[in-house]
Symmetry: none
DNA sequence: ATGGATGGTGTCCGTATGAACACCAATATA
DNA sequence: TATATTGGTGTTCATACGGACACCATCCAT
């Protein structure tokens, strides 16, 4: 049972994608019916059911509406002459564009971008000039990369444990481990990173 | 006339953004009212009006619903001058507006996102699992990080010169330099990088 | 041939939705 | 001090919305 990968349904899916590209939403059953040429809303409803089954759309967390799911954004492999050894690109010609912001930012209201200064984390692949995505007031665990406030200064380090105490480990042999005297004040946890090459 | 950048409204905007991150849509007036603690839908409607005025949201092309506009995805970039002893800044306001996708992708039509496999570039701070931003059909120069096609395989290396010929330099001592026999075929130039920490 | 899925039509119904309007209280502004 | 602006409440109303149900035609497997 191939679930719903009918010829027709992928045609419908295509039109849904087009609509979504413009309006950033799954339209109402009525509009879907019009879009697809259905005479009844029920047909639209059943189509959505099939697309859900196939993993293209899903309900919102509050179960109030439809939202696109993973597969909805997958680029169509068809049409592209895929050569051997080609990487599975995420965003190529055809499908929905890959939104970096969406990929990196989970809770916008608590997320801040912070430019990196210095090379104390260079061995962790975090360079001077990179911009890290920082989620504030997120519970930090040992091993996380965090922005801490030490002596009234912001510093980017790996949070670690040593004899039951938190320490801040740089990833650069030229820098010393920081062992805070009293309470360790954290600004936030690094959840992502972006880098731009050349000017 | 600062349009609508009230203190309160940016708080509301934050909650809207969080909701959108989860549900990928602007909720109904009713739900907005609940979310913000309004007793009436009208307040929600007026809030949307203000947010539209300020350029955070807009109507869908078919004028059927609200959709986020450009500014909706603005993240705040922490000031480069990190003032000592003032960790209370930032949050919603504070830094300058920063659009992640605009920062990384300059020519969307020629840009592709490619997941990185392997650690041949680890000493350049490019890790397994990172996603590189690749601009196709861009003139590559020595020193650029490129995706080349060697023996029908895609490979990520630094483009370099050696005795008048192009070579591909890995950034990992365990890997050998690649010296292509004939013509060197390039897929594109790496113009950016995206990394996400933890699951 | 026949019977069950399956994609689609048509209709009914309760309700959540957005628009419109009158009104109020706090805050600026003159 | 007087007054306009603004963020918010409360209510009414037409309607678009999704869910449910009965029904039909085609396709496919037995």
């Amino acid at each position: 049972m191939p679930a719903s990968d009918t010829e027709r349904d992928s045609e419908y899916l295509g039109r849904l994608r087009d609509y979504f590209a413009d309006a950033r939403r799954i339209p109402s059953l009525q509009r879907i019916a019009t879009l697809m040429g259905f005479a009844s809303k029920t047909a639209a409803r059943k189509l959505l059911g099939r697309l859900e089954q196939a993993g293209f759309i899903e309900r919102t967390p509050d179960d109030d509406a439809w939202m696109p799911a993973r597969r909805f954004f997958e680029r169509s492999l068809a049409g592209t002459a895929v050569r051997a050894g080609a990487p599975d690109m995420i965003d190529g010609a055809g499908g929905e564009p890959f939104l970096v912001d969406d990929y990196l930012v989970r809770t916008p209201s608590r997320t801040v971008m912070v430019p990196v200064k210095g090379d104390s984390m260079i061995e962790a692949g975090i360079h001077d000039g990179d911009i890290v995505v920082v989620e504030r007031s997120k519970a930090a665990r040992s091993g996380d990369i965090v922005i801490a406030i030490v002596d009234n200064e912001f510093t980017l380090k790996e949070l670690s444990m040593e004899r039951g105490r938190f320490i801040l480990k740089p990833h650069n042999k030229a820098y010393p481990v920081i062992r805070p005297k009293g309470e360790l004040e954290l600004f936030g946890v690094v959840t992502g990173l972006v880098r731009r090459y050349q000017g």
